[in-house]
Amino acid sequence: MRSVAVLGGAIFLFVLVGPFLAPHDPTAINIPERLSPPGEEFLLGTDALGRDILSRLLHGARWSLGLAFLVSLIGLIIGTVIGLVAALGGKLADWAVMRTTDTFLAFPEIVAAVVIAGLMGAGTWNLIFALSVTGWMRYARVARGIGLSLQSRGYVIQAKLAGLSPWYIARWHYLPSLLPSLTVVWTGMFARAILGISTLGFLGFGVQPPMPEWGTMLLDARIHMRSTPFQMIWPGLAVVTSVLAINLAGDALRDALADEGNHS
């Protein structure tokens, strides 16, 4: 749990403080300085419109990491509610919910997100919608699976016999047992959301220019690949580092939980 807390704190801090560390305005166009190589004034160089790449990267964290955080959180909430409805709502609800989940799983997530975001029109809200709609199914499956296994537990049966409402049982008897596993799923989905946002940005269906989202920056950088290849390195590196860090924290958390399970 500690590794995830540290990582979460680091990302939060970076998203919060990063933009204030930026030496330049990330959207300020400065044609005379366009495509300058890394130097003293522009530590990582400038892009085709003379914008400082370092500043864009730092501000971009808000878009790439911040949006991914938001999207994965929305998915977590939707998915958990849906999964609990399946687990607690009886056979028919379970069947309906699980077939709905299967239906949403019948498309590769990013392809579905591309179609949804593309048809609804490029823009940040549509991007959030597209990635949330395609990102709740794993949470739902995990929540349902654990929920079903809890049904035969003594304290759940007693709570039901005591006449407590399903909402109360879901909140106080199910949710605490679900949280550790859901957190592991969440780290994976957070990483996937970062990849999704940058992929959609790169394809032109995500965050729109001049906003400095990392994928969108790579779309710009690609055009000038031959003359200034260095431009392409940094945004990609930022994506890889974030995803890698989150995945490693997720792995550590999963192992820690597995150990705990073995001891008890």
């Binding site: 019948a106 498309f107 997530e109 591309v114 179609v115 990849l195 890889v240």
Partner: protein, 312 residues
């Protein structure tokens, strides 16, 4: 067995029906006036309301939701994808051409992925925790964190721009397929290595293995008859996920390398708001995806009969 098959089949049909409703709801609710977008893409000129209305009538955008849905889904049941809203030509021939570009690329990517990951995972698990194993894990973690589009750009930068060994854009010669296939293959290899490795390690940990070796069964026979089937369960499970990964990678890779194929077909259809083209790709994807997962479910039950019992 037949009952299980039937229930799996029924489940697949329900899911496909659900995807049809979802797809249609999405097309139906897409903002903007599709008729106007289609008319603009088709005539590319100043438009009068008359022309737009004519297009609306022609493309069948006039009915209510369920009426339009029935009109829409009928032809799809016999895999008739209709005509392009932009060019007016039948969808299927153009779609088929895209498939002929995409399918070999997908196979090549999968092959590269297997050729790298299978030996790497097997060698790495010979001595878990040693250098090679750590190397394999590190590479695999890195590989799953790299977005396909960035990997593709880096490969272009290295092999096409700096070294000038391979062509980057288009699909004219087989050499044009090398970089795209490599981009796909490396991504597949990364995720497969992780999965096969943990599959083998888990199978190795089974308690009956020491018993077998004490009974004098040779290590080779244990590996082939006992470890491999156990390791196969998680690998088969992720075939569906791998397919998703492959399809996602294909969209990106085709766009980066300027290859005609399903991915380019889909993205340009979205930009042109060519709904018949979009829905054809979406329906086809869902069909392939659901069928593969159905087959995986069946195979899965063959390898590990306990799964069926657990479900019931």
């Amino acid at each position: 067995m037949i009952a299980t098959l039937l229930s799996l089949l029924l489940r697949a049909v329900v899911v496909l029906a659900g995807t049809a409703v979802l797809t249609f709801a999405l097309l139906w609710n897409a903002p903007g006036d599709p008729a106007q977008a289609i008319a603009m893409a088709r005539f590319d000129a100043l438009l009068t309301e008359d022309v737009i209305d004519q297009v609306r009538e022609e493309v069948g955008l006039n009915a209510n939701f369920w009426g339009a849905f029935v009109d829409w889904v009928g032809p799809l049941l016999v895999l008739d994808f209709g005509n392009s809203a932009v060019t007016g030509r039948p969808v299927w021939p153009d779609l088929w051409v895209s498939i002929t570009y995409t399918f070999p690329l997908a196979l090549a990517g999968l092959a590269i992925g297997l050729v790298i990951s299978l030996p790497l995972a097997i060698l790495a698990t010979q001595h878990p925790g040693r250098l090679l194993d750590r190397f394999a894990v590190a590479i695999a973690s890195l590989g799953t964190a790299i977005p396909a589009f960035w990997l593709g750009l880096l490969l272009i930068l290295l092999f096409a721009v700096q070294l000038d060994w391979l062509p980057a854009m288009g699909a004219r010669t087989p050499a044009h397929a090398i970089l795209p296939a490599l981009t796909l293959g490396l991504g597949v290899a990364a995720s497969l290595t992780r999965i096969i490795r943990s599959g083998i390690l888990e199978a190795r940990g089974q308690q009956f293995l020491p018993a077998l070796s004490r009974r004098g069964v040779s290590p080779k026979a244990i590996g082939r008859d006992h470890v491999a089937p156990h390791a196969a369960v998680p690998v088969v499970t992720v075939v569906g996920l791998e397919l998703a990964f492959l399809l996602e990678g294909l969209v990106v890779v085709e766009v980066i390398f300027g290859r005609p194929g399903l991915g380019t077909f889909l993205t340009s259809a979205i930009l042109d708001r060519d709904f018949p083209h979009v829905q054809a790709v979406v329906v086809l994807t869902a069909l392939v995806f659901v069928s593969v997962n159905l087959i995986v479910d069946v195979i899965y039950r063959q390898i590990d009969p306990r799964i069926g019992e657990r479900d019931a």
